[in-house]
Symmetry: C2
Subunit: 311 residues, 2 copies
């Protein structure tokens, strides 16, 4: 289990990351019959929570670090490139060839070098290994104690902004965000229930938690491009150790939730960022009468691609 | 000329309207080479600045008012219905039959009664006259001194949040917002330059100001449904009296600006709300080296209809 806590990370990165706003919507509460608060990580630097973990991981590197490398469907890569650049370090990012084009552009805009690979876990890890062999320091996207601690800072802020929350709901891809939130809540607010939200088309976390064993057959099929990764080993251990439930949702539920966020909060969220609201609406009775905190995890949307998906 | 000022209105409505946030984007500034600040009226109650004017106008009615009526393409109607309901008054809203469906729904959701009419100024005014004949108090959408004063409060807040602004840029449809901003800036910050932004396909304000005479031939053709109205008489007098320039933009420039706001600010704005950014980008040299305040006027978007327009 990790020994570095989200509070440790927060002490380092609080001045480097945005304290993102909390939003509520009377009309959405009326429509859903629920009491919802949203943590707006789409307004975080680089457009997603990933900047938190990347900033903390980068802060922990020695001064003679020869540059960092990672694999990423996009948001971690952009966040790592931006955090590395802020410390004068280079960043090499292995990206699947079907990555969202605007996310590839974003990595480059923040100064990162992009290396394409086939869209599967083996190819991603092989691509990263090549960069490690060249001397780069790997900063994996989620299965890393600094990343987990950094992502957990979102829960520390959220609970400070809305002390009365009963629930925290966050998406799960590799599990960096959800395991960080789990550790943060356990540390400062153990009465808060943490729930994961996952596309049914990429339900490796739900299946791994149900079977007690990390699944190996994972062929994600989902619009939520940020949640296609296989759950990490450390991340699964944290979630399993704390008995975290994961709710799965359909593609249609994801799109409907995304449109609700656009309409009522006027916030652009990417499909992955709408998955927690979709999960709350799909399991309404679980959340009725409670104060529910939902993490909007990111807003990096390629408008054109999305329009094609929706229609 | 109006004798009730935006400051008068602000004293009444400050506790009833949201003090909407100001947003900036490093990436958008880098991309455009400009220094831009955005006032987020898409986060105002009912999703647009219109709630300001409606709230002030409603506050000025006598206690025995038999209910209010208006004509509106949508945002003023929803705002008036909400403000009226908050005072226990009924609201009747004449809407063009081609109004955006989600805006019709919004008027009803806030408790307003919708009366459809043909999509032209004569039909809208005839529809409203019928309601006046039934005893309702008309609250027109823009050509009204309370409405103008109320909309102007957005500039008071904007200049307080960002005291260093050199420019304020806002969209012009009927001119309530732009004339209110003009009066507010003249009162508290006369060094600030105010500029209007208008679709080329609904350029009645630009033509009226150029000719010195309110145009009568007005057949708006624009995606910016909130800016199809003909400029009001009081509004034209204010703009003309203060020598306000209006920049016109193409439909493509509007859509491009809207996508920039989505991508960099992660904010859902409706086409009308993106027109000022489009104007700033279309007249870049006018704004270079200055601190430019842009009013994002509303975010009430019918996603389905918009997708059809964009493609």
């Amino acid at each position: 289990m990790t020994s570095i806590t989200p509070s440790d990370a927060f002490a380092i990165i609080a001045g480097r990351v945005h304290r993102t706003p909390l939003m509520t919507s009377e009309s959405l509460n009326r429509l859903t019959g629920l009491n919802l608060a949203f943590k707006c990580e789409q307004l975080q630097k680089t457009g997603s929570f990933k900047f938190r973990g990347a900033s903390f991981a980068i802060s922990q590197l020695p001064d003679d670090c020869p540059g960092v490398a990672t694999h990423s469907s996009g948001n971690h890569g952009a966040a790592l490139a931006a955090a590395a650049a802020a410390r004068g370090l280079s960043a090499d990012v292995v990206m699947p060839e079907n990555a969202v084009a605007s996310k590839v552009e974003a990595v480059r805009a923040y100064g990162g070098r992009v290396h394409f690979c086939e869209s599967n876990q083996v190819a991603r890890e092989a691509g990263l290994q090549k960069l490690i062999d060249l001397g780069k320091t790997p900063i994996p996207p989620y299965d890393h104690e600094h990343i987990i601690a950094g992502q957990g800072t979102v829960a520390l802020e959220f609970l400070a902004q809305s002390p009365g929350l009963d629930d925290l709901v966050a998406p799960i891809g590799g599990g960096g965000l959800l395991s960080g939130i789990t550790l943060a809540a356990a540390q400062i607010a153990p009465h808060v229930r943490v729930t994961g939200a996952e596309p049914a088309g990429a339900d490796d976390a739900a299946r791994s938690l149900a079977s007690g064993k990390r699944v190996s057959d994972h062929r994600p099929q989902t619009i939520a491009d940020g949640l296609r990764a296989l759950i990490g080993i450390r991340n699964l251990a944290v979630l399993s150790g704390h008995g975290i439930d994961v709710i799965t949702v359909t593609e249609q539920q994801i799109v409907e939730a995304m449109v609700l966020v656009w309409r009522h909060l006027k916030q652009v969220v990417e499909p992955s960022g709408a998955v927690p609201l979709a999960a709350v609406l799909a399991s309404r009775q679980r959340f009725t009468g409670r104060r529910v905190g939902i993490v909007l995890s990111g807003g990096n949307l390629e408008v054109g691609a999305l329009l094609r998906e929706i229609q």
